[in-house]
């Protein structure tokens, strides 16, 4: 319709609608026609989602890095390759399913990743230069054998140092190295001590290598005191038992200078001055004794509390003191019923019928020689020692408010059962033995030792061997010359235990397998000096191109736990499991049994017969001779799945002592009982130590000694005001998985030093800045992580990062860590049981912006 004035069509509503309709029609036509032509169904087609892929077979094996979690894993194989690793989740005790963490699940990246050592190599340039000559196995083995023969002839067999970390995580394969060292009379490393994870307080107090309840027993606890331990981060497969405990009504309290992952889950977190945990434990005991909350009957029955100590010699009163011809292995208590000393045996715990032992006071005793001496019950010394540690005085040390300490002590003493989880944060100190003894005392004085849901459990390391492996490790009863590596780094000390025999002519050859020694040793610069001055042959057997492997003279490709057979059992979950090859050794890798067999043959043809067994035969032998824990378990059973060791359920250390009055200690494998019985000659928990070494240092009973005494004396605190802590991080097992590509994506892939904003600000450091961390031992460069998570006054570098890749400069945090040897660690020597413990956290440093 045309507009009468312009002659143009007018815009009317109808036209507008019409136009719009035409547009809509166009739209619809296109759409409809297209849909018709394409005949596409609405909704997706199954194939488009990504086709499910099948696998050809599945093999169950055991993840066996140095976390010692020993998680059962299934490897799924398509064609020739493992395409997925996932927890087997087949433990008959379902609370352990699924067991395994992201590190283990990522192992296909280790198996087939770019850092896999794929062939034998001999160094072609200077050490660590990265120039290699790829060789055949025969060439490599001949080369090693030739060198070793020369070194043995020139310096003696003890100058050859075997370092197969860690035998407990693969007793057959790693034991093959120990076996050869024993046959050759060579020296052999120790690990539990060197890794700082041996809690010396355990052999001191209980006479055992380690005290630990199986992880599921946490759930039976009603109060869990976590001391310097971070299971949420470092015991991932077991951490849920803390949640279970909480579900069951337990209260969880964490003692840690930093706000750890475990602290986030706790009912209460007590931020504490680093290295002062022992003082807090003593203050708790102080409160408990003062308020009469202790279980002194427990102390009297199971500990040395009632045993009398002569005030003149400060040694225990023995039967031989009291009567001529008496035993020096029998001790006496003061019986208030009879008003005189009463001799007790060491073959059984508990108290003689009708005895009422005194736990305090001084008593006069006439000795067999007629001399009158004053004696006091051991516990009287303990009480006296603990008296000064009032919550108020300890507050100055720990910075934990006295009122909080009192609350903690009361809650711990009155909630039964109460458990102590004792971790690396408390154990990696020069005086960690004292700290551990104080917490052991806390556990004992509240009657928690040997009780389900109670006890003091050390979950640092956990390398203890669960069954007798002597038949494999120590052929014909021969043993290698165990030398703690700390003496290699530090050199001998004046107080060194005479049982330790460092190689007479130095460490001339080292056979390091599955160990990243040159990343994970304290005071690395010192070790490098020793390596370069003394070691003529440095052989590394590993599956990953670690900084240690980079420095090898000969590098041999090792098989992983998906490529070999072994027999595994670790403490946190007491199951015996079979490591089984899911695939044959990939590339040119070989299992250790095969490597040492070849080496033995070349070194001494007469040794060949010791290796004329395969892994399954070795396992059968061990099962047959492994002791009561494995009695009756067969290889066939193990092939079907994990089998629980013959231990009580739940497994509670010292169960036999508390329930059946069996004397301390329980056996520590692979040593005979006698080897550890001497540590606690009373057959009881010992809180009073009469050995001269303790007496000289004033450490006969648990006391608190502050950290950094040496540095403080040298006024180094002003130069290095920050405490440098190097805890474990969830992304690595020590240095293993440092290089795992998936994990590097998550964690950022570079070493960082965490410092509190206050400390960062005063140093003009901002998040992400490149900084140098230094002290007198060394300096290293990494990146600043400024966070409230860490305590002001502390700096924190998670240990384990490969220094050659993830630090900007230097050899990482272990340039700064110390090689101190505490003389108490040398009072006895038993490899991995009583041996120098590394004080990783006894470090001062300063941080500055680069």
């Amino acid at each position: 319709m045309a507009d009468s004035t312009t002659g143009l069509p007018r815009l009317t509503r109808r036209r507008l609608i019409g136009g719009s309709a035409a547009a809509a029609a166009l739209f619809g036509l296109q759409y409809g026609a297209g849909r018709y032509l394409m005949r596409l169904p609405r909704g997706g087609t199954a194939h488009g989602q990504g086709r499910a892929l099948g696998v050809d077979r599945m093999v169950r094996t055991v993840c066996s890095p140095n976390c010692t979690g020993a998680c059962g894993q299934n490897a799924w194989i398509r064609g020739e390759r493992i395409v997925k690793i996932q927890q087997a989740a087949d433990y008959p005790d379902h609370v352990y399913n699924p067991r395994g963490c992201m590190k283990g699940l990522s192992f296909i990246q280790s198996l087939y990743g770019p850092d896999r050592v794929r062939a034998p190599f001999i160094r072609a340039g200077a050490r660590g230069e990265g120039k290699w000559r790829q060789v055949t196995w025969d060439e490599a083995l001949d080369y090693i054998a030739d060198k070793l023969k020369g070194i043995i002839a020139k310096y003696g067999a003890d100058s050859v140092y075997f370092f197969p970390q860690l035998p407990g995580t693969g007793p057959i394969q790693k034991g093959a190295a120990t076996r050869l060292a024993a046959l050759l009379g060579a020296s052999h490393g120790t690990f539990y001590d060197f890794n700082g994870d041996l809690a010396l307080s355990m052999p001191i107090t209980f006479g055992v290598q380690c005290s630990d309840h199986e992880a599921k027993d946490w759930a039976n606890s009603r109060f869990v005191l976590v001391v310097g331990s971070n299971p949420v981060e470092t015991r991932i497969p077991d951490a849920h038992f803390l949640s279970d405990a909480a579900d069951n009504g337990a209260r969880i309290v964490v003692l840690d200078p930093k706000y750890s992952a475990t602290a986030t889950k706790a009912d209460d977190w007590l931020p504490i001055e680093a290295g002062t945990d022992g003082a807090l434990a003593l203050a708790m005991v102080n409160v408990i004794l003062r308020e009469g909350l202790g279980d002194l009957e427990h102390m009297a029955k199971y500990s040395d509390a009632p045993l009398l100590v002569r005030t003149d010699t400060r040694k225990r009163l023995r039967e031989s003191d009291l009567k001529a011809g008496g035993s020096s292995a029998k001790f006496a208590l003061w019986d208030e019923a009879s008003g005189g000393p009463l001799v007790v045996g060491t073959d059984r715990l508990g108290l003689p019928e009708g005895a009422r032992p005194a736990l305090s006071g001084s008593y006069a005793v006439r000795l067999a020689d007629g001399k009158a001496v004053t004696v006091r019950p051991g516990f009287d010394y303990v009480r006296e020692a603990v008296a000064p540690y009032t919550p108020e005085s300890v507050e100055k040390i720990t910075q934990v408010p006295a009122a909080k300490t009192v609350k903690l002590a009361r809650a711990f003493a009155t909630t039964k059962p109460a458990a102590v989880i004792f971790g690396a944060g408390a154990n990696h100190w020069y005086h960690s033995d004292l700290t551990g003894r104080a917490f052991a005392l806390l556990s004992a004085v509240t009657g928690n030792v040997g009780r389900s849901g109670g006890g003091i459990s050390v979950y640092v390391g956990q390398y203890k061997v669960r069954f007798d492996v002597s038949s494999w490790w120590f052929p014909d009863g021969k043993r290698p010359n165990f030398v703690p590596p700390m003496y290699m780094v530090h050199g001998p000390t004046p107080t060194m235990n005479p049982a330790i025999k460092p190689p007479k002519n130095g460490f001339r050859a080292m056979l390091v397998s599955h160990s990243n020694l040159l990343n994970q040793s304290p005071n690395l610069n010192k070790l490098f000096k020793r390596l370069n001055e003394e070691v003529e042959l440095f052989v590394v057997i590993d599956f990953a191109m670690t900084p240690t492997a980079e420095h090898a003279d000969v590098l041999l490709p090792a098989a992983t736990w998906y490529e070999k057979t072994d027999l595994i059992a670790t403490p946190l979950h007491p199951f015996l499991q079979l490591m089984q090859p899911a695939v044959p050794p990939q590339y040119e890798s070989r299992p250790e049994v095969q490597i040492y067999r070849e080496l033995a043959k070349r070194l001494k043809p007469e040794l060949a017969k010791y290796y004329e067994v395969d892994e399954e035969q070795a396992i059968a032998t061990i099962l047959a001779n492994g002791g009561p824990e494995v009695a009756g378990i067969t290889l066939e059973q193990l092939k079907k799945g994990p089998v629980r060791l013959n231990v009580p359920d739940p497994e509670v250390t010292f169960h036999d002592q508390i329930q059946d009055l069996k004397p301390f200690p329980s056996r520590t494998y692979p040593f005979p009982l006698a080897a550890t019985q001497r540590f606690v000659q009373t057959g009881r928990m010992e809180f009073y130590k009469e050995e001269d070494g303790f007496l000289e240092l004033g450490e006969q009973v648990p006391v608190y000694k502050p950290p950094f005494e040496a540095e403080d004396a040298a006024a180094k605190r002003t130069e290095y005001p920050l405490v440098l802590l190097s805890p474990h991080e969830r992304w690595r097992v020590h240095s293993t998985y440092s290089n795992q590509p998936w994990l590097l994506e998550i964690n950022g892939g570079r070493a960082e030093v965490s410092i509190h904003p206050r400390d960062a600000e005063s140093r003009h450091i901002q998040q992400g800045d490149l900084v140098e961390v230094r002290n007198d031992r060394g300096a290293t460069q990494c990146w600043a992580r400024v966070t409230e998570q860490v305590r002001p006054g502390t700096a924190q570098i998670y240990e384990g990062w490969w220094w050659n890749r993830y630090f900007r400069k230097g050899r990482g945090v272990n340039e700064l860590t110390p090689d101190f040897i505490n003389p108490t660690n040398e009072i006895y020597f038993l490899p991995n049981v009583w041996s120098p413990v590394t004080a990783w956290k006894e470090v001062l440093c300063d941080v500055r912006k680069v």
Partner: protein, 217 residues
């Protein structure tokens, strides 16, 4: 009374009390689903400060939680609505949100539309370490969007998603939300499961179970 068999609606409950922040769910997801380098279907975020595992607050008054995050499989999924190619769709059985990679045109509209930022795109030719196809499903080509499928290939075999069976903290519960007696329904009901960004009206089929009340000394 005649029983009418209701359609399944798969759902998950994530227990924030039990979550350890370990990323095992994320890693097993990557492995199970052949997810290449650079991409994550499943993440564990830190509810706290400005970095991974950094707490919120001032020492010693600190707070930190973990927040596992993957596709929420919304009932009213914004990604499904916006996908121009019908590549993203809601499968009737189980009500899971899936991507038909053969239809995806790679416009990334779904990524813009997803309130949870859980979709990722194959920007480059997928690179894998190790350099072969691992896991239990075929990998995706370059140029398409991908995300959590609730391990649909496992569901179809009667198995639970890998992140559920592999969680070492046993923090994930999976099942049929339409079955009032399924463990996931019970957990959501009894522990007051909440949905993320509920105000967006997307009705996620993933629920979060809150942390317990703490009992300080």
């Amino acid at each position: 009374m005649a029983m009418t068999k209701t359609r399944r609606k798969f759902g998950m409950a994530v227990d924030l009390e039990r979550c350890l922040g370990c990323w095992t769910c994320a890693v097993v997801c990557k492995e199970e689903n052949d997810v290449p380098m650079g991409l994550w279907w499943n993440r564990v975020l830190t509810e706290g400060g400005d970095g991974l595992d950094k707490p919120d607050g001032t020492y010693p008054h600190l707070d930190l939680d973990y927040l596992p995050l993957a596709c929420q499989h919304c009932e009213d999924a914004p990604c499904v609505k916006v996908c121009p190619a019908e590549a993203t769709y809601k499968r009737e059985d189980g009500g899971i949100v899936l991507v038909d990679y053969s239809k995806c045109i790679g416009c990334r509209y779904c990524m813009a539309a997803c309130p949870y930022s859980v979709r990722v795109f194959n920007w480059a030719e997928p690179q894998r370490i190790p350099d072969f196809s691992y896991g239990m499903v075929e990998g995706r080509p370059r140029g398409v969007v991908e995300k959590c499928t609730f391990c649909v290939h496992r569901l179809d075999q009667g198995l639970e998603p890998s992140c559920v069976v592999s969680c070492p903290a046993q923090a994930r519960i999976f099942g049929d939300l339409n079955d009032p007696d399924s463990p996931v329904s019970v957990a959501v009901r009894e522990r007051g499961g909440t949905q993320m960004l509920a105000d967006k009206g997307t009705h996620p089929q993933v629920y979060y179970l809150s942390k317990r009340r703490k009992r300080p000394l």
